[in-house]
């Protein structure tokens, strides 16, 4: 399991760079992860990340885009604005969760 260091945060990641231990995540690391994928976190981003982490804690699975939208109350269109191009993967990465595996 690779270990990588981002702005003084030493984290365990998979081969692609997604965190493998959600407990290593905190609000400060979120800022660093967001920066890696070209995002500046706002409260809107934070609200989505909070839902993602809570849902993962309860179900042990990263929510898909559809679930993230339904659960956070943020419309799909907004999620594409907040996390452009590849919203489901980007939000999972910034939330310190594995890549989502669901199809829809």
């Amino acid at each position: 399991m690779p270990v990588t260091t981002l702005a003084d945060h030493t984290i365990h990641v998979d081969d692609a760079g997604f965190l493998t231990d959600p407990s290593e995540w905190d609000d400060g690391l979120a800022l660093v992860l967001a920066e890696q994928v070209g995002l500046t976190l706002t409260d809107e981003h934070r609200a989505v990340l909070t839902f993602l982490r809570e849902d993962f804690r309860q179900r042990g699975e990263t929510p898909t885009l559809r679930r993230a939208s339904a659960g956070s109350g943020v419309p799909v269109k907004e999620l594409f604005r907040l996390f452009p191009q590849k919203p489901a993967k980007k939000m999972a990465y910034v939330a310190g969760l594995p890549k989502p595996v669901g199809c829809v």
Partner: protein, 171 residues
């Protein structure tokens, strides 16, 4: 757990900086409930990966975007050997309704939306819906008969022009 220290940070590559403008064109030609889903699922997946996606609804596929039918597509056992049931059974009264409601239930249990809601999600994700001119004319349908998210009724050649350079799926 074995650990390896790496000099450069490992960060996922989302390919947004050098996106080559990948495009996908999906032609939906079937109006059965089970054959509506492959196109919708693939379109949704492509959009989630940042791929520009266009769907062209032609022949029976037009049912997927026609207001009167889009929420009422059906699944039949008839002619579908993959149900592994005797074909004669499929012809009994009520069997198509039963097979349809079972499939709908199975889809809903997986938290996959029904056809109208799925199209809404695809459009919210930036997907484009186009209706086939010939199919619309054959069925005497105008834009008013179609889902409000359909951008236009266009000819096959216009669709080919719009999707210049796209990868193409015919379903």
């Amino acid at each position: 757990m074995t650990s390896t220290e790496t000099a450069t940070a490992i960060v996922p590559h989302f390919g947004t900086d050098d996106a080559p403008g990948r495009k996908l064109a999906i032609i939906c030609s079937k109006g059965n409930l089970d054959m509506a889903y492959p196109g919708l699922i693939l379109a949704n997946a492509a959009l989630g990966e940042g791929v520009e996606t266009h769907l062209f609804f032609t022949f029976w596929g037009l049912d997927m975007i026609t207001r009167a039918t889009m929420g009422d597509l059906k699944f039949t056992m008839l002619g579908n050997t993959a149900t592994h049931m005797p074909q004669g059974l499929g012809g009994l009264p009520g069997m198509t309704a039963m097979a349809t409601s079972r499939l709908k239930k199975a889809i809903a249990e997986l938290d996959v939306p029904d056809v109208p809601e799925f199209l809404e999600q695809i459009v919210a994700s930036g997907g484009h819906l186009w209706a086939c001119r010939l199919s619309a004319d054959m069925n005497h349908l105008t834009l008013a008969d179609l889902d409000e998210d359909v951008e236009g009724i266009i000819s096959a050649s216009d669709f080919i022009e719009k999707t210049d350079g796209a990868q193409l799926l015919f379903i």
